[in-house]
């Protein structure tokens, strides 16, 4: 029955890779499998299901349940098929009288300590214990009732062995009464997730699954609520609360998670139009059946009561909202946009595309700007995160994207993680990396903060370079200095793939004493010996990979850092092979896609410059309009122009710029200066407080389309329920465009993808038919690579020869001084996502109800700050208040916080400094002062007041 609901058949033990094929016969059926495969899996390949309880293909075989015993010719006894590897010529019998009798006996023992309340059990119809009882033909249990773990009480009183349910986790329930102690959950927590939060305590009859220590509950233990244990549990012992409440699902919609850039594939288990649970797909090529708390459980926001499903308009942003028809809202929006252009010129309006929406939706929004507004005023939130990645990797390698797929991590010998916190930001990738670290791969972390990855259980010693925020370029250049000075570079690779003379010039630049670790130690505070050690380890590893995050890009030298990273990889020849590469961990589900789709003001889809006459001709032909060859405004330019009175209208789809962009006051005053701000979102977000038109958006569960993840993988998003607002987001953009005179007539996103493929060389081979067939493909996907490209730059760089760009360290203008002596850096946390609009509206708030300021004990003591105190954080931009947490995870002189909660508004404090090449804001470095405070700051009170006013909605006439 489990297979009825989960179509991915469980093969019993994980797949094995081997060049050697072994032939055997199972129940008379010949079958060939890779050497090292279990008899159980070989039987499954032959289409035969061997009964099992403790085995699942999510984790390695354990051999504890003894249900899977088989008879093998020439072997003594009855071996467990899960732990017995195949051998050439083996003849296996999975069903004999002897085997049947043993299995029945084993099941009798299991059932003697299991309640028989199947009809009212939440796993009814979805229980492997139930299935196995049926499979072995269990008809009676001969044991007398005796000591057991499931009865609350017996004739003599309460049962001392009975333990009540653990309902501390908001998403799932642990019911020890139903546990058969198969250890699947413990093994999944260890092998798949790598958290080791679960154990079996006691032994014999006393064996129990325990989260953490005796005094822990699931919530207080190390559990990160990834759901792996719930997924592998064969009974109702660990089960989703939604299944307890709703019942078993009846159909599945395969789709893609809408949280981070890992892009996990999910099976939405549905009942009618209601999601019962989200289960990670085993055939998902980014996640291979794993998930994190966000994708697995935090989807309740889609039906949250605060979701707005009706269009609204208002004359002024201080007025209350008026609920109107779609017609009225679109007419209002279109006429104001046209009016702004009539009064202030063609360039007075623009769009911001969303990295949360689909490729097709993003494509249409940028098309709206280019083909309907007749300007190139389109930008996207990638401006504030990974725009330096695009610039840096395009300059050095020739492509604005990561070089490898996630599978590559399985083969890496050393991972250099820079400015990223994968266990929180990209948890499923972190689990895969941790697995590799447990297998012995090395780890170097370049981060101001002691990230959790460094404390992964059962890995070797990681190397942590706790650099001072803002000194990435100096430290990376010093590493390159060591590699060149000690001749650790890969000369053959450089001669073949790069320009040798260019290398020599770069080497001369590097060898200058100012780049030596001893000099760099003075600015970065990283001991020179640590820099040398890291450089040597990176250069020595046969296959070394680099994974980096926003701690690289969100700096005044973000683009330079990306190029310094690319240089390291080229110097050591760590490009083009599995296990190597330069891989940005992208923040949002479709930030790669939104960049690919031409969201930037200077680039058409596929990163072709708007001044390129050939590219322009393609779109002029396809769209039937004349296009501007002038790059449009970037987001910060839009704000500056707005404050100068020249930029008057903005259509912002699925992004909350007020909360996510730096220097909040600057953003809000720019928005307040516009005549027409259109916000399309699920919720009245912070930006909507400054909007005149609110167009309700649709969630990822309500639309068709594609997302592109950090490994360039184009994944399908499929509609599981009708949009509550009536339209998928691309339809709303089309309605607005047509209101402004366009004549678009798309009837399905597949038609939009067809237009993208037709006009964009790197997407030429992409179609919904291909994606349905293959599950996903990685661009470039065209005649040369019809099934996509998992690893790039294999035989040569896309740009021809790899380019070494000199990476001179220039200190940020954001410096500490007497007034602002500390450096603030920002990041995020596992349970919350970005501005929190989604996750704050789920039970995830139990893990992170508010933003917290991390501060080193010595800095706290100097200021008289105690654990949990309210503190004021002030920079030259503004100030906010939040609670302090005292920890040695941050170095003295550095403080850290997250930006998930609008009541904190961490970005009130951040400044308008930005990357020299791309204007990516310097979120990661702000000079601040921290002092004790009594509560929220004046700005927070003011903002709350405006926010309360701006969110008023007039009762509709009908009510």
């Amino acid at each position: 029955m489990k297979d009825f609901i989960i179509p991915d058949r469980d093969m019993g033990t994980p797949a094995v890779k081997s060049d050697v094929t072994v032939n055997l016969i199972v129940d008379g059926i010949p079958v060939s499998v890779p050497a090292g495969t279990s008899v159980m899996r070989a039987a499954a390949v032959a289409g035969i299901s061997v009964p099992k309880l403790c085995a699942t293909d999510h984790v390695s075989a354990f051999g504890s349940c003894r249900l899977c015993v088989v008879q093998i010719d020439g072997m003594r006894g009855l071996p467990a098929s899960c732990t017995t590897p195949v051998t050439e010529g083996m003849v296996v019998h999975t069903q004999t009288d002897e085997v049947a009798q043993i299995r029945k006996g084993v099941m009798e023992l299991y059932i003697s300590d299991h309640p028989l309340d199947c009809l009212t059990c939440a796993a009814n119809g979805d229980c492997e214990l139930q299935d196995m009882a049926g499979a072995v033909g269990l008809r009676e249990v001969r044991y007398e009732p005796g000591a057991n773990h499931f009865a609350r009480r017996d004739a003599e009183g309460p049962n001392p062995e009975y333990r009540p349910k653990d309902q501390s986790n908001p998403y799932f329930t642990f019911d020890p009464a139903k546990c058969i102690v198969c250890s699947r959950c413990v093994r999944a927590c260890e092998e798949v997730q790598g958290t080791f939060a679960l154990t079996i305590e006691g032994r014999g009859f006393d064996s129990r699954v325990s989260a953490g220590m005796a005094s822990d509950s699931f919530l207080s233990s190390d559990c990160v609520s990834c759901g792996a244990c719930v997924q592998v549990c064969p009974t109702a012992t660990l089960i989703e609360n939604s299944v307890i409440q709703i019942g078993t699902p009846e159909h599945i919609v395969k789709t893609t998670c809408a949280y981070c850039g890992v892009g996990c594939s999910f099976d939405a288990h549905m009942r009618g139009e209601e999601v019962v649970r989200m289960v990670p797909s085993k055939d998902g090529k980014a996640n291979h059946g794993h998930s994190c708390v966000k994708g697995r459980f935090a989807w309740g926001y889609a039906t949250h009561r605060e979701r707005q499903t009706q269009p609204m308009v208002r004359e002024r942003i201080t007025d209350p909202w008026r609920v109107v028809t779609w017609d009225e809202a679109l007419d209002f929006a279109a006429s104001r946009l046209r009016q702004a252009q009539a009064d202030f010129g063609r360039d007075a309006i623009g769009v911001i595309t969303s990295s949360r929406c689909t490729n097709e939706e993003t494509y249409l929004v940028q098309k709206l700007a280019r083909a309907v507004f007749h300007n190139n005023n389109t930008d996207t939130c990638a401006r504030v995160c990974h725009s330096p990645t695009g610039y840096g990797l395009k300059t050095t390698f020739g492509t604005s994207a990561g070089t490898h797929d996630f599978d590559s991590v399985d083969e890496t010998d050393l991972a250099l993680v820079i400015g990223a916190n994968p266990t929180d930001g990209h948890p499923v990738f972190a689990s895969r990396l941790r697995k590799r670290l447990r297998e012995g791969a090395g780890l170097i972390v370049l981060d101001p903060r002691q990230i959790d990855l460094l404390n992964s259980p059962h890995m070797g010693e990681g190397l942590h370079l706790p650099l001072r925020p803002g000194t990435n370029v100096a430290v990376l250049t010093a590493m390159a200095h060591v590699i060149v000075a000690e001749k650790l570079y890969d000369e053959a690779f450089i001669r073949e793939r790069c320009d040798w003379d260019e290398f020599l010039a770069y080497a001369e630049f590097l060898l200058d004493p100012r780049h030596a670790p001893e000099e760099v130690e003075k600015l970065s505070k990283v001991p020179a010996e640590l820099i040398r050690k890291a450089a040597r380890a990176y250069a020595a590893a046969p296959r070394a990979s680099i994974y980096y995050g926003l701690g690289v890009t969100e700096h005044s030298q973000g683009s330079t850092t990306v190029m310094a990273i690319a240089n390291l990889a080229m110097l050591t020849g760590n490009i083009g092979e599995p296990g190597t590469g330069v891989n940005p961990l992208r923040g949002q589900n479709n930030v790669q896609g939104s960049c690919d789709m031409g969201s930037f003001p200077h680039e058409y889809p596929g990163y072709r410059h708007v001044s390129d006459p050939e590219a322009r001709a393609i779109y002029e032909r396809a769209w039937g309009v004349e296009l501007s060859p002038e790059p449009g405004l970037r987001i910060p330019n839009m704000f500056d122009e707005a404050l100068a009175g020249r930029f008057k209208g903005l259509y912002c789809q699925g992004e909350d710029i007020v909360q996510s962009d730096p220097d909040t006051r600057h953003v809000t005053s720019a928005l307040a200066a516009m005549d027409i701000v259109i916000v399309q979102d699920l919720f009245l977000n912070e930006t909507a407080n400054y909007a005149h038109v609110f167009l309700p958006g649709s969630s990822f569960l309500e639309k068709n389309g594609t997302f592109t993840n950090a490994e360039r993988r184009i994944n399908m998003v499929r509609r599981a329920m009708t949009p509550k607002n009536g339209y998928e987001d691309w339809e709303v953009t089309q309605l607005l465009a047509n209101r402004m005179g366009a004549a678009w007539s798309y009837t399905h996103p597949r038609e939009i993808m067809a237009e993208i493929a037709l006009t964009t060389p790197s997407f030429a081979g992409v179609s919904y038919d291909l994606l349905d067939r293959e599950g996903s493909v990685q661009w470039p996907c065209n005649d040369k690579a019809p099934l996509g490209t998992p690893v790039m730059h294999i035989d040569g760089f896309v740009r021809g020869r790899g380019k070494f760009v000199h990476t001179e360290y220039v200190a940020t203008e954001e410096r500490t001084g007497a007034r602002f002596p500390l450096l603030l850096t920002t990041g995020r946390i596992l349970s919350q996502y970005n501005v929190g609009a989604q996750t704050r509206r789920t039970e995830n708030v139990v893990w992170h109800p508010e933003d917290i300021l991390e501060i080193h004990p010595s800095d706290a003591e100097n200021r008289g700050i105690r654990e949990g105190d309210w503190v004021r954080v002030a920079s030259r931009s503004g100030d906010t208040s939040l609670r302090a947490h005292i920890t040695e995870r941050v170095a003295p002189g550095v403080v850290y916080t997250t930006f998930h909660h609008p009541t904190t508004q961490a970005n009130v404090v951040t400044t308008d400094n930005s990357d020299w090449a791309t204007n990516c804001p310097e979120f990661k470095v702000t000079a601040v002062q921290v002092s004790p405070s009594n509560g929220p700051s004046e700005w927070q009170e003011e903002y709350r007041h405006h926010s309360d006013l701006a969110r008023r909605i007039l009762p509709t006439a009908a009510e």
Partner: protein, 159 residues
């Protein structure tokens, strides 16, 4: 009973114990033995500290501690009396002896006398099957045990 974890030097002493064994292969068990020797049991507060030091998690340490009956989660009496309950001893009247001893001492299995002197524990085989039933008091073994011999042993130990 207050936990030893509230003692000022608890962490210091724990660090010393960890340092003494950390380089060994499989350091957890020798560390746990020393911890129990130091505080008479393995305080739960020690488990996260050990986990952190050994690159494990507290769940794993708890799994190990709870697996071995001889690691205790609370202090026992000053002396421990073990009575064997395995097959050979059972066939020689161990159950009846246990009943007598429990009545005489006024405590049940795993319990400690109110004066904190003696804890009674079952044990499964002391390797003295040839002279069953058997018992153990501290390091001293007792063959062909009966109530009088056990009481004498208890008295001699000053428990």
């Amino acid at each position: 009973m207050t936990s030893p974890a509230t003692d000022a030097d608890f962490l210091l002493r724990l660090d010393e114990i960890i340092a003494a064994h950390k380089g060994r292969e499989g350091p957890l068990l020798p560390i746990l033995h020393d911890v129990q020797a130091e505080w008479g049991h393995v305080p739960e507060e020690a488990q996260p500290v050990l986990a952190e030091a050994l690159g494990m998690t507290r769940a794993e340490v708890h799994g190990v501690v709870s697996f071995y009956h001889d690691f205790r989660d609370h202090p026992h009496g000053r002396h421990v009396l073990r009575l064997c309950r395995a097959e050979a001893c059972q066939s020689m009247g161990a159950e009846a002896l246990a009943e007598e001893v429990r009545t005489a001492l006024g405590i049940d299995w795993h319990e400690t006398t109110p004066d904190g002197r003696l804890t009674l524990e079952p044990v499964f085989c002391l390797g003295l099957c040839a002279c069953a039933p058997s018992a153990q008091m501290g390091d001293r073994l007792l063959g062909r045990a009966n109530l009088a011999k056990v009481q004498k042993l208890v008295a001699e130990a000053g428990a």
